[in-house]
Assembly symmetry: C2
Homo-oligomer: 431 residues x 2
């Protein structure tokens, strides 16, 4: 199956033979037993359907059912604003970033996730009331921030006929969002109660906004299915990229004091994927004193910001470099425009911007390896829907596998729930 | 002097008396000697003028000299694009974020920092060629990424009379940027050679774009001067917020395994400040195996993303929570719009969005403290120019002080320079 995968993993540089006491191939292979446990967990959930995120990649019927909504939003609106926070928006923001650089005539999608009153008002007032659609997403239907934004948007749209302008997406239970929708005659879609927010990128929450943005969401599901297939049918757990990735992360944290996992894509459109991964990894694994800190980085800009620390600071980081092949892309650097600077820029002239990007990517990889930093490479030729779906699926599987290896429940977030209660208390006391 | 400060620091919750072997007030006071060394270093550089960033806050003449440029760019352009990377742009991006939420008629400022060919072309082509000005910034005048972007912009503007449309900012030496400017008749401003990129937020690089954006940059300098004054005239080093902050960071890293410093503002417009701080801290301190990892976070969104890890994961983080007072700001959550959901939302209705933000901020602070996470609070009532200048100055001073305490040179970046050579080699080999 491996030849069909949209992305390739290379873990050779994770093993630091040069460093005394470093992580070795032998130690990695000792993770095989934990790898088997994780793989069996994933296979079982896939077979019994108790984790729908492991079945979603094969579904197409839901996508077909969205068509009337997509058509209506695409024909009526220049802008579509997603109201949500955390898991309700990070997945769709990740996938919607694919539109950058494409000629797409669909609405621009915006995410109003925070509740900073100054920034929220500033952004909301920048949209044309008549030409903007809204989609409010809260799995539980009781997310305080999202309900606040929804009620304020209803208020701002005023007395006009706004009932077709807002769609809600929430569980099919009697919850506040559903009651607000009923009060104002808003369409209310069903959020699958078994899909956990931070794992929802491939469900309606992640893909409906992307479909409205004009993205081929079947392609995203196809790429995810290819990576999921490769895991389910893996003969040896550690031969599978997601299980191997989890094993490396867990072993480096447990035995080598590596408590940070750096996510470093060399593709600007993957900036949101880093933020999505940050939540997935942190909230799934940060429990009972366990968990490593996900660090979002971006090539090449972080070469001018974080690389000094990465290469010369403490040995407490594992690196995942995500690489495309940008050679030949972008504007060409024409020597005649450099004038009297041409001689000192000899190395650069005649190349494209993509050539420079590729050289910087390779220089970083070589520097990480020569400085004995444990480094994994994930490669593809160009970012498209299949690659995006494949990346999302790999990191979902890797997170679930890491939790299994650490004997942690990947699917709850007990502390966050506690804080939510505290917020209600504060507001109630002020009433 | 303290009453004049635009920001207040509260370090009480840094000392975890509840935790066995935790960081205590006694241990903090043992840092007084290192604090004195750091403070003397800062005072000496301030007096002898060898670190101009410590004199800049008192200057106004340079701001006056920019007026013709500011007037021209404001009258001619709808958009102004800054071409630069790292220290050349992070400071101005930080300050320019102040315009969000203000009614300002000046040009919108954009930062094209990366060289991803697809994203760069997409963003560049979104601007109206006739109504867009450019400002290219490279201290050395030989930053490969910035020269590449400058030459491609010159190419794209075509054969028209673009020479007034681009301004360069670089050292007054014979360098490639200056030669390119001379070739095309572009105005070339002087970048002070003694101002290091990542410390340049209060110099021309940071403030000229902000002035074009319509920001009162004198206010930024005033706020910085207030914080700098408070440091220079501090009687006891550890009574000064910047020296104390450095001492806490250094002691927690050295003695308590705390290798991450989380920067958590509850003000959306401070998102860029976190990214600016990330470079300042990482590149200044990440040397010789030392340095802690700066983690950018954002309230309230990271309550739904990172807080589970922060509160229940490993005890390896120091927290700086930056707090404003948003109570009463933003839209009010009107009960009559909630319909049949009103009863279950009783705690929320009647409050403003800012009230909710304030409650979430307080809930996070209380949760961090009750979970024994070492936490510093930096408070101000509302974000304005003085506060922004004060924050920038405090973190510049804190970084310099931390480097002194760690006996590290804060002002070089040796590994980054090595990588730059590698990039040139790769491109040369391909020629």
């Amino acid at each position: 199956m491996f030849h069909k995968l949209p992305i390739a993993n290379d873990i050779d540089a994770c093993f630091m033979h040069k460093v005394d006491g470093g992580f070795s191939l032998k130690k990695f292979k000792e993770m095989a037993e934990l790898g088997s446990i994780a793989l069996e967990f994933i296979r079982a959930r896939c077979n019994d359907g108790t984790l729908p995120i492991l079945n979603l990649p094969y579904h197409r019927d839901d996508i077909v059912s969205w068509k009337p909504i997509v058509d209506r939003y695409q024909s009526l609106y220049d802008d579509v604003v997603i109201l949500g926070i955390g898991g309700s928006t990070l997945g769709s923001a990740t996938i919607c970033a694919l539109v950058d650089g494409c000629v797409i005539t669909a609405p621009r999608i915006h995410f109003l996730d925070n509740i900073d009153p100054i920034s929220f008002d500033s952004r909301l007032s920048s949209f044309d009331k008549e030409k903007t659609g809204f989609l409010a997403i809260s799995k539980s239907g009781s997310t305080t921030e999202t309900l606040t934004k929804l009620l304020i948007v209803i208020d701002r749209l005023g007395n006009k006929n706004f009932s077709t302008q807002i769609i809600c997406l929430t569980e099919p239970t009697d919850n506040p969002m559903r009651r607000i929708a009923a009060t104002h005659g808003l369409l209310c879609l069903d959020y699958d109660p078994k899909v956990i927010g931070r794992f929802s990128a491939l469900s309606t929450a992640g893909l409906l906004p992307a479909a409205i943005a004009g993205i081929n969401v079947e392609g995203v599901r196809r790429g995810a299915a290819a990576v999921l297939d490769a895991t389910i049918f893996a003969k040896n757990p550690l031969d599978n990229p997601a299980i191997a990735g989890a094993a490396i992360n867990v072993a480096l944290a447990r035995d080598h004091g590596i408590n940070q996992t750096v996510f470093l894509p060399y593709v600007e459109r993957l900036e949101r994927l880093s933020i999505w991964f940050r939540q997935l990894w942190a909230e799934s694994l940060g429990k009972e004193g366990y968990g490593t800190t996900p660090i979002n980085a971006m090539g090449v800009v972080d070469q001018h910001s974080q690389m000094q620390l990465y290469l010369a600071g403490p040995r407490d980081k594992f690196f995942t470099v995500i690489c495309s092949d940008p050679r030949g892309l972008g504007g060409r650097i024409r020597g005649e425009l450099a004038g009297s600077a041409a001689e000192s820029l000899n190395y650069l002239l005649g190349h494209t911007m993509g050539d420079l990007m590729a050289a910087e990517q390779q220089a970083t990889i070589d520097s990480l390896i020569s400085n004995c930093c444990p480094t994994r490479l994930i490669r593809f030729s160009n970012l498209n829907e299949e690659v995006m779906g494949g990346l999302i699926m790999q990191f979902i599987l890797e997170t679930i596998a890491a939790a299994q290896m650490m004997r942690i429940n990947a699917f709850d977030q007990p502390v966050v729930e506690e804080t939510k209660l505290l917020i209600r208390q504060f507001l109630q006391e002020e009433n």
